[in-house]
């Protein structure tokens, strides 16, 4: 039986002003999961629970088959964790960090590390406190990648990076995924990055997972329809309709389960479909979050 890269079942964690509520997630080896949420949604808390840095109040967490936090020492041998909040030791050089990490992980690939130093244009003898934001992010990623982990957990790794550095980082992550045994959990509020590299996407908002699916499925299911409704025409109530907004004589309908049958149903109600638009991941994310906020408010 294939072991999941990670599994979270009904995980709960309460803080004074925030609670993670009933979070369940799973990722198979060889997949990239984009974990998307607004600021303060619970992305970092979820990842820190996975890493054993924060202990959940309830639920079950397994990392590469190991229960967390109990077996985190074993599980973390195969995990590369990088966070935009993370800083390397300020007084030490990158080459010291490389030797330090190499002394801990027997899988450290020195040749790959040297290649990444060149690719990321880093200076190994530079002290960490003198690295720019982009260089620091790439150095942290290098230290995580060169240990050849089975699972990479990345918490907003591209936050604060310029477009070129972002491109370099994302390209390297795509490269990692050529090895189909490896998996990546990638948190971000930048949907462009997530759409580019992920094959599974999970949306989280206010401590709850609001939706989780394959990227293609998301992009296929969600549509925005521009409609013209005649006077007195009302669309039927349907759970597929996520949002309806009226602008003069035009109506915009957002659906999370678009099918030809839904289009027929709308036309039969007397509406004219002017245009069916595909939605970007960002639009899907915003619509999804807004729907769940509305539902929770009711």
């Amino acid at each position: 039986m294939k072991t999941s890269a990670f599994e979270m079942r009904n995980v709960r964690k309460a803080f004074r002003f925030f609670a993670l509520d009933d979070v369940s997630l799973e990722l198979e080896p060889g997949q990239i999961m984009g974990f998307v949420g607004p600021n303060g949604a619970g992305k970092s808390t979820t990842l820190r629970i996975l890493m054993g840095l924060v202990h959940a109040d309830g639920g079950e967490v397994r990392l590469l088959g190991h229960p967390i936090p109990r077996d985190q020492r074993v599980a973390k041998r195969d995990i590369g964790f990088v966070s935009s909040d993370m800083r390397l030791f300020q007084q030490a050089t990158l080459s010291w960090h490389m030797r330090f990490v190499a002394s801990i992980y027997s899988e450290w690939d020195a040749a790959y590390a040297t290649l990444l130093v060149r690719r990321f244009n880093l200076q190994p003898e530079q002290t960490v406190k003198n690295l720019s934001t982009g260089e620091h992010a790439k150095a942290a990623l290098l230290l995580a990648l060169a240990r050849r982990p089975r699972l990479l957990i990345l918490d907003e790794p591209t936050a604060g990076l310029d477009p070129v550095a972002r491109h370099e980082v994302l390209a390297e992550l795509m490269e990692v995924l050529r090895d189909e045994r490896r998996a990546i959990l990638f948190s971000s509020h930048n949907t462009v990055d997530v759409e580019r590299i992920s094959d599974r996407i999970t949306f989280i908002d206010r401590g709850r997972v609001v939706d989780s699916s394959n990227k293609e499925e998301f992009l296929e299911r969600w549509r925005r329809l521009q409609l013209q409704l005649g006077a007195g025409i009302r669309l039927p109530q349907s759970p597929e309709i996520v949002d309806l907004s009226v602008d003069g004589q035009f109506t915009t309908l957002t659906t999370d389960r678009f099918t030809p049958e839904l289009a027929t149903q709308i036309q039969q109600a007397g509406a004219t479909i002017l245009e069916v638009q595909r939605m970007s991941l960002e639009e899907i994310f915003v619509a999804n979050v807004m729907r769940h906020r509305k539902e929770r408010a009711q």
Binding site: R48, H55, R73, D85, R87, F89, A92
Partner: protein
């Protein structure tokens, strides 16, 4: 001890190598100064004391509090260990970083007392008690930095322990069982000296054991 703990302790020594070397060099210089003249003795003793107290504050403040503040703790905790493992390694590493200069400078002070004709050997128990107090004092700052996340609380611990240095000098030096024999030609290891020493060992043990008992029960490490 696991190989990862050894690696982390070695890392602590590496990152603090200049601080340790500077403290040892400056401390030995102050001991030498203390041996030169009456005035040199006063300045040297004050410098010796200041150096040990200062390194005892810098190590926990930079090694623990600053690491938490600049988020390099997150990098350390991404390694294959638990938060409690890391705190143990941190404590051991910083203890060793302090122990090296403390031991060398304490030894130098003992040698100064025994070798200098102008300083009575009766000072020896007081020097030993002062050295014991300084490592106990350091262990309290270390304990505070490991257990407290609030900067204000840690600074409070530093202020209180620094005040304790002056209090120790005034109070312990004025205890009859100690003060009466300071000028004697031979060191007197009486009951009072042993009692103060036992109290110092008890404080040291308490300050080092408390984090080991409390930190594994924590549910949040960052």
């Amino acid at each position: 001890m696991s190989s990862l703990t050894i690696t982390l302790v070695t890392r602590e020594l590496y990152l603090n190598r200049w601080l340790i070397a500077t403290a040892i060099f400056a401390g030995l210089l102050s001991v030498y100064l203390a041996s030169t003249s009456q005035m040199g003795y006063r300045i040297g003793v004050l410098a010796w004391l200041t150096i040990i107290v200062t390194i005892g504050v810098i190590l926990p403040m930079y090694g623990i509090h600053q690491e938490r503040k600049d988020h390099s703790l997150l990098f350390a905790l991404s390694l294959p260990l638990s938060g409690a493992d890391y705190a143990r390694a941190k404590m051991l590493g910083l203890l060793l970083c302090f122990f090296l200069p403390w031991f060398i400078l304490s030894l130098a002070a003992v040698v100064l007392v025994l070798a200098m004709p102008g300083i009575p050997d009766g000072m020896l128990p007081f020097v030993v008690l002062l050295s014991g107090f300084l490592i106990a004092n350091f262990s309290l700052v270390l304990c505070g930095a490991l257990l407290m996340t609030s900067e204000a609380l840690i600074i409070s611990v530093v202020i209180v322990t620094n005040m304790c240095v002056s209090l120790f000098l005034f109070i312990v030096f004025s205890i009859p069982g100690i003060n009466d024999y300071v000028q004697s030609a031979v060191p007197v290891w009486n009951e009072v000296v042993w009692t103060v020493l036992i109290v110092e060992v008890a404080v040291l043990s308490f300050a080092l054991l408390l984090p080991l008992l409390v930190i594994p029960r924590r549910r949040t490490f960052i």
